[in-house]
């Protein structure tokens, strides 16, 4: 009886409820492929590119937790990536230039500390006001990061703030490379793109599995209920504000995780990463990939980053083509790429 949910065909927004053997196999296959990837393609450019895609995929996935699974819209989710990146970077240059895990912890915790009161305020308002508030706060973070030159390095990014850091770091003039240690073992160093790739892949896979568990957990069911019908959710006894806040914090924490990974990859963060337009692009990744499926946003991030990279290398007028592709996708792929696959998958009998 208890596995009855597994037989559920599931609506468009909600797939992968319960790790079906097939999806599990697919997941293992994809991960295995990604593990082998840097061994096959040794060009650091591609390793760097895939690392970026994974990081932005994680960011887009975190937005999807909010948008696709809780029904809340954040216009500027990138700002939480930025906050974490700044926090992790500043921690590394000012406090402890050795520990990667500590920097990661600091980045994520800092993001959550900021996100908590902001979220508390935001969940007190309804639908559109929530989304607009994310924008107000996002622009606020952006302005602070940009204007607080002495701490953040202002418009130039963290590289310009290095000189205020620890003498050792200041001398080097850059956020230092960090050793990837696991207990007593040294697994690598962030100066090697392959090591960064594996670090990011590992974190992203773990985050994906945990998030997947979460959206399929009883907690996920609560968030789903809020997404589907907020009023009714409160009338089955859900403390809507509290669970919205939990969803928000999970999403911000994941975005923060992506932010710390960004810092290990780029070793620099500038305010332009926190700009409103970048936020729209994260939203685009989610929608192009397919809202409500955790893997869709990764696909969306991949498509969008590759598209922008390739087109901007190919022509100076890349904006025209990016615009055309985006318009085309929104018009003709209403549910994103994930939606396309589920449209193909869906048997006609299910639509009776």
């Amino acid at each position: 009886m208890s596995n009855r949910t597994n037989q559920a065909p599931g609506s468009l927004l909600r797939r992968w409820s319960g790790a079906h053997p097939l999806s599990l196999g697919g997941f293992v296959l994809v991960v295995a492929g990604m593990v082998v990837l840097p061994l096959v393609v040794t060009n650091p450019f591609y390793q760097n590119l895939w690392t970026r895609i994974l990081i932005f995929g994680l960011l887009a996935m975190s937005l999807d937790v909010l948008l696709g699974f809780t029904g809340l819209l954040s216009f500027m989710h990138n700002s939480y990536l930025g906050l974490a990146a700044y926090a992790a970077g500043l921690f590394t240059i000012n406090v402890n230039p050795e520990s990667l895990w500590l920097a990661m912890l600091v980045g994520v915790v800092f993001t959550m500390i900021i996100a908590w009161p902001v979220g508390w305020l935001q969940v007190r308002t309804g639908g559109l006001a929530f989304a607009l508030l994310t924008m107000a706060f996002g622009m606020m973070y952006y302005t602070v990061a940009w204007k607080w030159h002495d701490v953040t390095g202002g418009d130039d990014g963290l590289v310009a703030a290095i000189e205020h850091g620890l003498p050792k770091v200041a001398e080097e003039g850059m956020v230092p490379y960090l050793d990837i240690n696991l207990g007593p073992w040294n697994l690598g160093n962030t100066s090697d793109p392959v090591h960064v790739y594996y670090l990011v892949l590992f974190i992203v896979v773990v985050a994906f599995i945990l998030t997947h568990r979460m959206v399929n957990s009883p907690l996920g069911a609560v968030l789903e209920a809020i997404r589907e019908n907020e009023e009714r959710a409160s009338f089955v006894g859900i403390n809507v504000r509290r669970f919205k806040l939990i969803g928000w914090l999970v999403a911000c924490g994941l975005a923060g995780l992506a932010g710390t990974l960004w810092m290990f990859l780029e070793r620099n963060i500038a305010p332009d990463t926190m700009h409103a337009f970048e936020g729209a692009e994260v939203l685009m990744m989610v929608l192009l990939g397919g809202m409500g499926s955790l893997w869709g946003p990764f696909l969306g991030a991949g498509i969008f980053i590759l598209l922008k990279d390739c087109l901007s290398s190919a022509t100076e007028h890349w904006e025209i083509y990016v615009g055309l592709v985006v318009i085309f996708l929104v018009l003709f792929l209403p549910k994103g790429v994930a939606g396309l696959s589920s449209m193909l998958r869906r048997k006609p009998s299910e639509n009776k």
Binding site: F45, D156, G157, G302, L340, S341
Partner: protein, 397 residues
């Protein structure tokens, strides 16, 4: 099931896209050009590309191989510039990077050179942080902030009308602007020039409406304005200052050369901008090489020769010659060859100091005014009023 098929297909597609499109042709020497082609400074980026393209056309071959420029758009964003640099080095296999407009982008990029392991020569970055930054990082282009400050202060001291004025300092809010302001204020103080606001004003780089700053300047009682705004914005600022009637009472001294096309658009409103820079096409009155270069540039691009184009041209020539001199495209050898190399271009000998990897060259003090009849159809031009020898501008070696 089809979901996984689609997924697999997408992965395959992504892979095939990402795989090197074709085996790299061995023949040409590839040079990566990083410039902003979109965003507020796109015009400056275009001019830099012109200068570098012209250098490639003049040089034709390096080590007997053709030169191939691979141009990438940085969008003036550090993260984009770094990822584009990685693409250029790892995917396209360029042997050197050249260009970069903004100091912020330049700094971010410079810090990645240990990993990228190719020489990077900036033709536009002006921040003094570039002195001796990294063995692989060079600057050969626009004057650095300290050099500009020396030029401008000397220019002010030599002009009685400028000398007695009180200056209000307004800069763009990023490392170059801050650096420029600090350099100027320090030197001005040492030479008895009055600065009204020693903790200078910082305007966001996207500022389009300067009215509040102009109001402040008016209220401060200053009768001179020292600006360090990016090339393309200087004429806009001058135009609004004229609109506000400020140019009647104030003199404008600029820490960077104004863009010629922007001057044309601003028209007579942009008259009266003083400033030290590498180059102005008016230098052709003094230097036959400048005349020749201007003519060649005009023939090639049919547009007014700009400072950005000229110093990018010189920087590129130095880089090309260094590769030739090194006899190989090995990064260390090219870097070694770049140290101490010099090129006698449109504005005289430009030498990259072996001490700090940054160039030394002569420069000009100019004032914008109505242009005499000229082959480029320019109505406003930067008139050369003084030429500084390289020794004067320093910094000492």
């Amino acid at each position: 099931m089809k979901k996984y098929l689609v997924l697999a297909l997408t992965v395959v597609l992504a892979l095939s896209l990402a795989m090197p499109m074709a085996a790299l042709a061995k023949k040409p020497v590839k040079i990566g050009v990083l410039v902003p082609l979109t965003g507020i400074v796109a015009q400056g980026g275009q001019e830099m590309v012109m200068g570098i393209k012209m250098a490639a056309a003049v040089k034709k071959t390096i080590l007997g191989r053709p030169i191939q420029l691979v141009v990438e758009d940085t969008r003036v964003k550090p993260a984009v510039a770094v990822s584009k640099a990685k693409k250029l080095v790892y995917k396209d296999g360029v042997v050197a990077l050249i260009g970069v407009f903004s100091s912020g982008v330049g700094l971010a990029l410079a810090k990645n050179m240990d990993q990228l392991k190719v020489p990077f020569l900036s033709t536009h970055v002006m921040t003094t942080k570039f002195y001796g930054l990294n063995p692989l990082v060079f600057r050969c282009g626009q004057l650095a902030n300290d050099q500009t400050a020396v030029g401008n202060v000397q220019g002010i001291l030599a002009t009685p009308d400028l000398k007695k004025r009180k200056y209000y300092v307004l800069v763009h809010d990023y490392s170059w602007g801050h650096d420029a302001a600090q350099r100027f204020i320090k030197l001005a103080k040492a030479n008895g020039i009055t600065v009204v606001n020693p903790d200078f004003d910082r305007a966001p780089i996207k500022t389009t409406d300067w009215s509040t700053y102009l109001t402040k300047i008016k209220a401060s009682g200053a009768d001179g304005i020292y600006i360090a705004l990016i090339t393309n914005v200087i004429p806009h600022f001058a135009k609004q200052a004229t609109d506000f009637g400020l140019m009647k009472t104030c003199r404008l001294v600029s820490g960077a050369a104004p863009g010629p096309l922007e001057l044309e658009e601003g028209g007579s409103a942009t008259y009266g901008i003083f400033g030290a820079s590498d180059y102005a096409w008016d230098l052709q009155r003094f230097n036959p090489k400048a005349k020749k270069w201007n003519a060649a540039f005009w023939k090639m691009f049919k547009t007014i020769p700009s400072d950005a184009a000229a110093h990018s041209y010189v920087g590129a020539m130095n880089l090309f010659n260094a590769i030739e001199k090194a006899g190989s495209t090995d990064a260390k050898k090219v870097a070694a060859a770049l140290r101490g190399i010099s090129f006698d271009g449109p504005y005289g000998v430009v030498r990259i100091s072996a001490k700090d990897n940054c160039m030394r060259n002569a420069a000009v003090l100019t004032e914008t005014m109505a242009a005499p009849a000229n082959p480029y159809g320019a109505k406003v031009y930067m008139k050369v009023i003084k030429i500084f020898p390289a020794k004067v501008l320093g910094p000492p070696e």
